[in-house]
Every structure is written in structure tokens, then in C-alpha cells.
């Protein structure tokens, strides 16, 4: 019966439920009985996926427990294949809403529990690794359940049920407790497993969208007494589009059946969200089919298609594209306007590990894996005063929730283009070469749309919400005069791509290299872009560059020469293009959101990139903005207060980056010392992986602060000359 490969097909069995009844003793009386299930008959084909939906108390879970054999019906029969159900058995797997992992067993031991219980561990031990890989948790084999996130624990629970190769898999709201994005990812994962193995699956859920997205048929149950009201076949092609018309029509039918249909959603034509306010009518968007590529509208003056959308995103960089992908998944109609035509160059070429989680959310990780981007397994720091390399390896501290111990170095022109194309494939409408002239506001100060120039034509686009993802162009921040420069980081960068750079020892050749230079706050980055090209940049205080009056080449060469190790590595390097300058680095906006508008990524805030935080900030802010926007549109409120939580989270996260960077610049030798020490390097590695959001305290930063104060107070301290004294007073606030 059981084959060795988890991808074995046709493992499912038909299931027959014949006239079963079940009552439970009422809680408040010894004799009274509460009917839980009344006369239920269902027949399920082998390999079929059944969604069961209904209000609480309708007997959904009771039905699953009866099939699992954990309870027995008062009357009626249950059959799996040709065998009657007489008790629990390994051929019927059950996954609960709570993962119910055995807390005393590690992940791998939890997964092999079924093999141990059936006494077949010896023959099938190899399957444990296969199933761990199947759910992407091989890195966590030896972690205990309390270390896992909700989504990971649920994946372990799935693997634990699947390792027995059940013919019937019973899922009792297994995704109910997960956040929206993890949930969508898990739904796809369950579908993938089901399609690979054709197990018969019964899924209890209270989410209508999930029921439609997953099931071949939907069992609608009603309470008191619990019974099957109706069985609805879902005749939609897989993979299903959550925002397709047929999907939404089915959804409202089911809502009617459940007597839950809210008047709001039906008035607006069945869409999950209320439609655009001021613009009144919103015609259907053309070209919204799956697989839509980046489209340029026709240039003929009059027949420009109507591009009004619920959300307009200014900028198609990583923040805008990621936000677009998230909104597309949730079925929010939106439009991305990008000033450039991709591909176009950009700095910020090194990513941090936490971005992987977002790539997973928006299904972009396979694209990253397919592209020949250089994998970044860690970072190396050196100091101009000696030859020592301080190495941080991400694998030392597995970032929870991630299945890979590396991130990427990217050619930003390629990366940004791929991400934007991906958003378009997910359902984003993209208009390139469209310059936003300004954002329009109504009398009450709420944003109502944008004025955009495209191929010489000027046009107004209306929307409910404008999101500025324009990066360092800061379209909206400049228009509203929100921008404040961060005087502490008046930094300046000069960079180029080089061939023939010596990348040092083979083990760390693919790592990002940061070389600390003698001038205060000066450093160099070396980022491998591909096999031959390395991006090299010199960052100094702005004043140090402008006062010299040197050429870019001379300035660059002078700084490379000030670091003996760097100079040797760069000895045979040839620039492959012109030098590029980036000035006036850091700023923050007074507000990140207002009535009908929102800032994401660099458009909200930019901090010095010494720890490769740029793309991470863009992606994390886009993810959080997407959550806030989806929530706000559901509640039909896009005023500033709807985004207060978003602003708070983002501000707190970037504040930690800023604090970290500030402390780093105040005393570089301290940072190098801390990463050399086993007791502190872990905490720093986690920060460098991008673990700065949703944290209330960062002890290591407090420790750094304390040491810097002590060194500052002590004239004799050997590190004292390395202090950037001009940064210290601001460290107090």
C-alpha cells in the first residue's frame, strides 16, 4: 500500500458516510441529549478534495472526529474503501487547528511519531528526511516545537500526518490561526501536496474564500441540529484566481446560503471590497488576465484605457512591486506607475535574510532561485589597522521561519525588473515611463488621485489611496514638505562595478565585504554581482568629498590605498563603467501616512546602507503597508488613523536600524570586537539578518551604548581615538 516516495500518486480512498447520527449529553442535565449531527449521508470519491463550511455548532468537527474514529456515531455507517471504520487508524490522518505537536519531541521526532507508533521506523527512517524537505523544515530538524512559528508548527503537523501515507486526510481548520499571508501560502502548499499524492481530503474551514479556493466540492452545513444543507461543486480551473469573476460570484452565492451576506459587499457588485469613492463608476480593467506582462498603453491620444484603480502605487521599485504583489493576491485593484523603463540601474545590491520570508509570501522565491544571483551566506568586516577578517555566517543563527541560510547579492537592474514583472504576473497593472507630476488632494486634504505624464500626454488618474513608493525621489514627501534630513548621516557614496577584484579566501569569496577606512565614518563595500563583476563603493562624510576638489577616480584610489588589505584586493581591478555618486544620504519624513495616502520604503525613510538594509526596509514596509491597506479597504476607511499602526511599526523597525548604524559609526572597533565574541555575535547576526521589526527591546544595542559612554568618558581608553564624537550627543535622545 505504501510507497517510499512522498510524491506517490493515487493514495486516496473513497469514503462513504451513510445516515449517521450523533448526540452528546447536554452539559447541564444528566438525561437531555444535544443532537450534534442529524442523519448525514455523504459520499466522497477517491482523491477528491471536499471543503466543509458552516457556522460553529453545525457538527463539522464532529463529522471529522467520527471519520477519524475518535468518536462513534449513535447510528449509521462509515466506510473507508471497503472497510468499516471501527476506531482510529493510521490510514486516516487528522490535523487539528492547534498543531498539537508533542512538545517533548524535536521536529524530526514529531514527524516520525507515526512510524514509531506503527513500529516501522526501522524500514522507513529515510522518509523522515523526505517529509521534512517536503514541508521545507530540514533546517529545524532538531528544534523543539516552542521554537517554531505558528505556520511552521502547522507544517510539521501536516508532515506528521502525511508520513503515514493516509488514504484520507482530515483537516480541521488547520490554517485558521495563521495570519493572512502565511495562510495563503499554506493553502497552496496543501494543494500542491494533494495534487502530488491524490489523497482524499476533507477540509473544515470557516473561511469561504478558502473553501472555494481549495475544494472540488463544498459541503455547506447548518446548525441545530447539524446537517448537510447543500453540496456545491466548484467548477473552476486550478490554479484558481481568488479575484476572478466566477470565484466572486460563487462566494456571494455561498454567503446567501449561509445567510451571512453583508449588504455592503453585495451592493458593490460582489467584490470583496467597496469600490472607489469619488470616481463613482469603475469600468472593468482590461488585460487583467493571469500572465499579463508589463504593458504600455497605446499612445493615440483619446483611447487611453481608463486606469482608475483603488490603489495607485507611485514607483515600481522593490517596495512598489512587492506591495503590488501582495495587493494582487488579496484581489485589490491597483496600478503601479513607474517613471523609468526597466531595466534601470540602482544601488543597494546586497539583501538581508529576512527578505526571503517576503519572497515566499509573494511566491517570488522560485524566481530568485532560478536566476544566477550570487548567494550571500554572510558578511566580512575588516579594519584598516590590521589584517584580521571578522566573519559573520548566517548559518550560525538560523533565522526562524526561513528555510535557507543565505540571501542574495543582486544586480539591481535585473532584480527590480524581475520583481516588477512578477507583480504584473500576479495581477498588478503596471504603467512604465509614467512620470507622476503631483498627487491631488480634495478640499478636506484627502488624496484623491495623481496627475501623471506619459508619452507627452498629461492625465488625471483617480483612486481611493495613493501609495508613494518612489524611493529616493520622494514624490509625495517633497510635495508635502515632509522631508527632514538626518544630519547625523550626511554621508556620500562613490561607486562602480569592477572586474578583476580579488575576493579573498574561497570560503568567504561570496560574502559581502565591508572595509573600515581611516577617515571617520568612511568605509568601502565589496559586493559580488556575478562571477567576474564586483560592485565596489566608497562611503565617506559628505564634507570629505566636496572639500577635496579631486576627480572621482583620484578620490576613489586615495581611499582604497588607505586600507592595505583593500588595496591589495583591488590591485588588479578595472572599472567597467563610469563612477556614480550618491549624495546627501539619510532623511526621514514627518509622517508616513495621511488621509488617502501612505509612504513605503525609501519614500518614507532612508538610512545609511552599511548593513544592507535598503531592500529589506522596502520589502518589509510594503508587506506591512499591504496588510494595513487590505484591512483599511475592508473597513472602508482610508483616513490617516487607519495607518497609524503601520507607521508605528515601520518607524520602530527603522529606528532600530538607525540606532544600530549610529552606534556602529560612533565606535567601529567596538562592533568588530562584538562580532568576534561568541556571546554577542549571535545577537548581531540576527540584527544583520534583518530581525528588527516587531521587537520591543534590543539588548545588544543597549550594551553597545553603555560601552560607548564608558569609552567616551575615559580619555585613556585605547578605543577613545576611534570615537566619532560628533555623533555621540545625538545618541542620548
Amino acid at each position: 500500500m505504501v510507497t517510499s516516495s512522498p510524491a506517490a500518486s493515487n493514495e486516496g480512498s473513497p469514503l462513504r458516510i451513510l445516515g449517521i447520527k450523533k448526540t452528546f449529553p447536554a452539559a447541564n442535565s444528566a438525561t437531555a441529549q444535544t443532537p450534534a449531527l442529524d442523519e448525514t449521508t455523504v459520499s466522497v470519491a477517491a482523491g477528491e478534495f471536499i471543503s466543509i463550511i458552516g457556522p460553529s455548532g453545525c457538527g463539522k468537527s464532529t463529522l471529522l472526529r467520527l471519520i477519524a474514529g475518535l468518536d462513534f456515531p449513535d447510528s449509521g455507517e462509515l466506510w473507508v474503501g471497503d472497510a468499516p471504520i471501527t476506531g482510529p487508524g493510521a490510514e486516516r490522518g487528522l490535523v487539528f487547528q492547534d498543531p498539537n505537536l508533542f512538545p517533548w519531541l524535536t521536529v524530526s521526532h514529531n514527524i516520525q511519531a507515526g512510524l514509531v507508533a506503527r513500529g516501522v521506523l526501522h524500514q522507513k527512517r529515510h522518509e523522515v528526511d523526505e517529509f521534512m524537505r517536503l514541508v521545507g523544515l530540514e533546517a529545524f530538524a532538531h528544534a523543539y516545537p516552542h521554537h517554531l512559528s505558528g505556520g511552521m508548527a502547522q507544517r510539521v503537523a501536516l508532515a506528521r500526518a502525511l508520513i503515514n501515507h493516509p488514504q484520507v486526510l482530515l483537516l480541521d481548520e488547520p490554517l485558521g490561526a495563521l495570519d493572512a499571508f502565511t495562510r495563503m501560502r499554506m493553502q497552496d502548499e496543501v494543494l500542491r501536496l494533494w495534487q502530488a499524492r491524490r489523497t482524499t481530503i476533507l477540509l473544515v474551514t470557516h473561511d469561504i474564500d478558502e473553501a472555494i479556493y481549495m475544494g472540488d466540492r463544498i459541503l455547506i452545513m447548518t446548525p441545530r441540529p447539524g446537517r448537510v444543507e447543500q453540496i456545491i461543486p466548484v467548477a473552476l480551473e486550478r490554479p484558481r484566481q481568488r479575484n476572478s469573476e466566477a470565484f466572486l460570484r460563487l462566494r456571494s452565492e455561498i454567503l446567501d446560503l449561509l445567510h451571512l451576506a453583508g449588504s455592503d459587499s453585495r451592493k458593490s457588485g460582489g467584490g470583496p471590497f467597496p469600490e472607489g469613492g469619488a470616481s463613482g463608476t469603475t469600468p472593468p480593467v482590461p488585460g487583467n488576465s493571469p500572465g499579463c506582462e508589463i504593458s504600455s498603453p497605446p499612445t493615440g491620444g483619446t483611447d487611453w484605457p481608463d486606469l482608475d484603480a483603488q490603489v495607485i502605487i507611485i514607483g515600481g521599485g522593490p517596495a512598489g512591486s512587492t506591495l503590488g504583489a501582495y495587493l494582487a493576491q488579496a484581489g485589490v485593484r491597483h496600478l503601479i506607475l513607474d517613471q523609468a523603463v526597466h531595466p534601470r540601474a540602482h544601488v543597494g545590491e546586497s539583501l538581508v535574510c529576512s527578505t526571503t520570508r517576503i519572497f515566499q509570501d509573494i511566491h517570488f522565491l522560485p524566481v530568485m532561485e532560478r536566476e544566477p544571483f550570487v548567494r550571500k551566506y554572510g558578511a566580512v568586516w575588516t579594519h584598516w589597522g590590521n589584517e584580521q577578517e571578522h566573519v559573520i555566517r548566517f548559518r550560525e543563527i538560523p533565522e526562524l521561519g526561513l528555510t535557507q541560510d543565505y540571501t542574495y547579492h543582486v544586480d539591481r537592474s535585473r532584480f527590480d525588473q524581475l520583481l516588477l514583472q512578477h507583480a504584473a504576473r500576479q495581477g498588478s497593472r503596471v504603467l512604465e515611463n509614467a512620470r507622476v507630476e503631483n498627487v491631488e488632494f480634495d478640499a478636506s486634504g484627502a488624496a484623491t488621485g495623481v496627475r501623471v505624464k506619459h508619452n507627452g500626454q498629461e492625465r488625471r488618474l483617480r483612486c481611493r489611496l495613493v501609495v508613494d513608493a518612489s524611493g529616493r525621489s520622494t514624490v509625495l514627501g517633497s510635495q508635502l514638505h515632509l522631508k527632514r534630513h538626518d544630519a547625523l548621516f550626511d554621508q556620500f557614496a562613490l561607486h562602480n562595478w569592477f572586474e578583476g577584484v580579488d575576493r579573498g579566501p574561497a570560503e568567504t569569496a561570496d560574502y559581502i565585504h565591508i572595509h573600515v577606512l581611516p577617515l571617520p565614518r568612511a568605509w568601502a563595500w565589496l559586493i559580488p554581482i556575478n562571477r567576474t563583476v564586483t560592485s565596489v563603493g566608497i562611503v565617506t562624510k559628505g564634507a570629505d568629498f566636496t572639500k577635496g576638489g579631486e576627480t572621482a577616480e583620484a578620490f576613489f584610489a586615495r581611499h582604497v590605498a588607505s586600507h592595505p588589505l583593500l588595496a591589495r584586493r583591488m590591485a588588479g581591478a578595472r572599472p567597467v563603467q563610469e563612477f556614480t555618486r550618491e549624495g546627501n544620504y539619510s532623511y526621514v519624513m514627518d509622517r508616513f501616512a495621511g488621509d488617502g495616502w501612505l509612504l513605503v520604503g525609501d519614500a518614507a525613510r532612508f538610512v545609511d546602507p552599511v548593513f544592507s538594509s535598503g531592500v529589506s526596509v522596502a520589502l518589509e514596509s510594503a508587506k506591512r503597508a499591504a496588510e494595513a491597506i487590505i484591512h483599511a479597504l475592508k473597513r472602508n476607511r482610508v483616513s490617516a488613523d487607519a495607518f497609524a499602526g503601520y507607521e508605528r511599526t515601520l518607524r520602530a523597525g527603522v529606528d532600530i536600524w538607525r540606532e544600530f548604524i549610529l552606534l556602529y559609526y560612533q565606535l567601529p572597533p567596538l562592533f568588530l570586537d562584538l562580532i568576534a565574541r561568541p556571546d554577542t555575535r549571535g545577537q548581531l547576526t540576527k540584527l544583520l539578518q534583518g530581525d528588527v521589526y516587531d521587537r520591543s527591546a534590543v539588548p545588544i544595542l543597549a550594551q553597545m551604548h553603555g560601552t560607548i559612554q564608558a569609552v567616551a568618558a575615559d580619555q585613556q581608553h585605547p578605543w577613545h581615538p576611534h570615537l566619532s564624537k560628533d555623533l555621540i550627543p545625538a545618541g542620548e535622545n
Binding site: G69, P88, N100, L105, G706, D714
Partner: protein, 345 residues
């Protein structure tokens, strides 16, 4: 460290291990811990030595000399460790944590000497000075060692036997409803009787005093461990059992791989309670019946009015019991390592 010539003046050590000028140590925050690790014990010993040698007391010269040597030895060891910790951060962390406590213990010793030997506030021979206690400990070391060994044997055999029986009864009663029906009333009636109350009966029934003591200690351990095993097993989350059943688990798996691991935290509470009652029962049993062990030694020394020996035995008992307690905590930390947020001993 490689350095380029022109920058030599500004070069800073990148590690913390380079020696730092002594005068600055007090000021630099990172260096504070070194003195906290170094000073407490030598300071306390110097105070104790001053009290011991500088003030007139009623101690015998031989005792006084031994006690001085003892304090001097501690001083030497503390200074040596204090110097080593400047180079060894691991030791420093430990010392920074522990040395204030050691210092306080030595000061307490000194206070004891002040009250008994110097000021003579407490009547002799009931309250000897620490020097006399130390002397008794050294003189009677063979007998003390022998007594400790016997106590250990008695305690271990009684405890292990009691725990083994308790686990079996606990799992049976906790798992099976019919066992619970018959077992619980017995447990409720017999269990609460303090084990020491059985002593008169045990002496009559048992062929030897040693055996009756083992039985009494097991009985003392049995009740709390059984109760908490029952409660742990009976309160196993039903969903863990449901999950295991749907994975194809039989009864053996359910009991040994689900119920018992789930009950482990509760079982350990029982083991700690049982250990406490076993100490009590051990000392009482040794005092009234068995002719060896630390309990016997205390009452024997008291009979001869050698209170120095009584105190010596009490000190050894304290170290002995707390060592066993610590070992049990270590065992718990190993077995229950999977628990979230467990308090370490």
C-alpha cells in the same frame, strides 16, 4: 597584528584582551566586573582573620592555629583565582556572580566567631566557635565520612525503591479508570499518614533496623510521587492522545510515549517533594533505630555533649542534602529541556 608605519600611533587593539593601564580600570565600564570578581572573598577573609587573630578569644591554641591555616588557605586560593580571572573571562563571569555570596558566607563565619569566641554571648558548650567546629570535623573525619556514606546508601536505596513503586502505581492509577476506582481510596486514606508515624510498627515487623528505615523512606517518597504522577497522567491533553491514535498508536505507545512524557513536569514536582520528605525520614530513622549515618552521629555526639561535632555534622548534612537536591535539578533540566521558559536551578 600588522600595522602600517604612519598609523602606528593611532592603532587600537581590536580585542578586549590587551592589557589596559591599571589606573583606568576603575573608570572603564567594561572593567568594573574584574574588581567585583576579585575583591569580595579576599576582603572577607581579611576581616575574618582580623577578628580571629586581632581580638582576644577563648579558643584553644591548636584549634586557633588550624582555623588560621584554613582562612589563609582560602585567602591564597581566592587571590590566585582573582589573578587568573583577569586573563580568563569565563572564570570572571562565574566569579562575578558567586564571589559576593562566598564573601558573605565568610563574613557570617566571622560574625559567628565574634559572638561565640570573642564576646561569649552564647553559653558553652552548646555554641562552640567555628575554630572548634573545624577542629572536630578534622579530628573525627573518618567517622563523619563513614556516617555520610551510610546515610547516602540508605537514602538512595529508600528513594529509588519508593520512586520505582510510585511510578508504577501512579501510572496504573492515572491511566486506568478501574485502577483509579480501587486505588484512590487507599491512597487517600494511607498516604497522608507521615512516614515517621509508622516507626513503632516498622521496628516490630521488619527483621532489621536498616530494612525498616529503607521501607520508611520509600513510603515517605511514594505518596507525593504517586499523587503527582497520577495527576500528570490523568491530565494529559486529550488532543495529544487523539493525535497519537490517528497516527496509529497502540496502548503501549500512548502510555510510554505520550502520557508519561506529558506527565514528566508533574512527576518532577513529586520527585522534589518526595526528596524533601525522604531527608526528614532519613534523619528521624537514623536517630531512633539505625546505628549509623549522619542522624545517628548527631544524636550520638549530643549524648557526649560534643557540640562541636554536632555542628560539624549539621554542616556536612547541609552540603550533602543540597548536593543531592542540585543533582535532581540537573536531571530535571536534562529531561525537561524541551519546556519553554523553565526556571534553572
Amino acid at each position: 597584528m600588522l600595522q602600517t608605519g604612519q598609523h602606528q600611533v593611532n592603532i587600537a587593539p581590536l580585542g578586549m584582551k590587551e592589557p589596559v593601564p591599571k589606573a583606568d580600570l576603575r573608570r572603564a565600564a567594561a572593567s568594573k566586573g574584574r574588581w567585583r570578581a576579585f575583591l569580595p572573598v579576599p576582603g572577607a577573609v581579611l576581616v575574618a582573620l582580623a577578628v580571629h587573630l586581632g581580638l582576644p578569644n577563648n579558643e584553644l591554641p591548636s584549634e586557633a592555629g588550624l582555623y588560621s591555616r584554613f582562612l589563609t588557605f582560602i585567602l591564597g586560593a581566592a587571590v590566585a583565582a582573582g589573578l587568573v580571572q583577569f586573563l580568563w573571562p569565563g572564570l570572571r563571569r562565574w566569579m562575578r556572580n558567586m564571589c559576593p555570596i562566598f564573601g558573605a558566607a565568610i563574613l557570617t563565619l566571622s560574625l559567628w566567631e565574634l559572638i561565640t569566641g570573642v564576646l561569649r554571648w552564647l553559653p558553652l558548650p552548646y555554641f562552640p566557635a567555628p575554630a572548634a567546629v573545624l577542629q572536630s570535623m578534622v579530628n573525627d573525619r573518618a567517622l563523619l565520612f563513614d556516617s555520610t556514606w551510610h546515610s547516602l546508601l540508605l537514602l538512595l536505596s529508600g528513594y529509588v525503591l519508593g520512586v520505582a513503586i510510585a511510578l508504577i502505581t501512579g501510572v496504573c492509577i492515572g491511566w486506568s479508570t478501574s485502577m483509579r476506582y480501587w486505588g484512590m481510596p487507599l491512597l487517600k486514606v494511607v498516604g497522608p499518614i507521615p512516614a515517621t508515624a509508622w516507626i513503632p510498627l516498622a521496628m516490630v515487623v521488619s527483621p532489621s533496623a536498616m530494612l525498616s528505615a529503607v521501607g520508611l523512606i520509600s513510603l515517605a517518597v511514594w505518596f507525593p510521587v504517586t499523587m503527582l504522577t497520577i495527576s500528570g497522567i490523568a491530565n494529559t491533553r486529550a488532543s495529544y492522545l487523539d493525535v497519537a491514535r490517528t497516527l496509529g498508536a497502540g496502548r503501549i505507545y500512548l502510555i510510554f510515549r505520550v502520557a508519561i512524557p506529558a506527565a514528566m513536569p508533574s512527576i518532577f514536582v513529586g520527585l522534589f517533594m518526595g526528596l524533601g520528605t525522604s531527608f526528614l525520614t532519613l534523619v528521624v530513622a537514623e536517630t531512633v533505630g539505625v546505628k549509623s549515618g549522619l542522624g545517628w552521629y548527631v544524636s550520638w555526639a549530643q549524648g557526649w555533649a560534643e557540640y562541636g561535632k554536632v555542628f560539624a555534622a549539621l554542616i556536612i548534612m547541609a552540603a550533602f542534602f543540597s548536593t543531592i537536591m542540585t543533582l535532581l535539578f540537573k536531571l530535571r533540566d536534562r529531561v525537561l529541556g524541551w519546556q519553554k521558559g523553565m526556571i534553572k536551578w
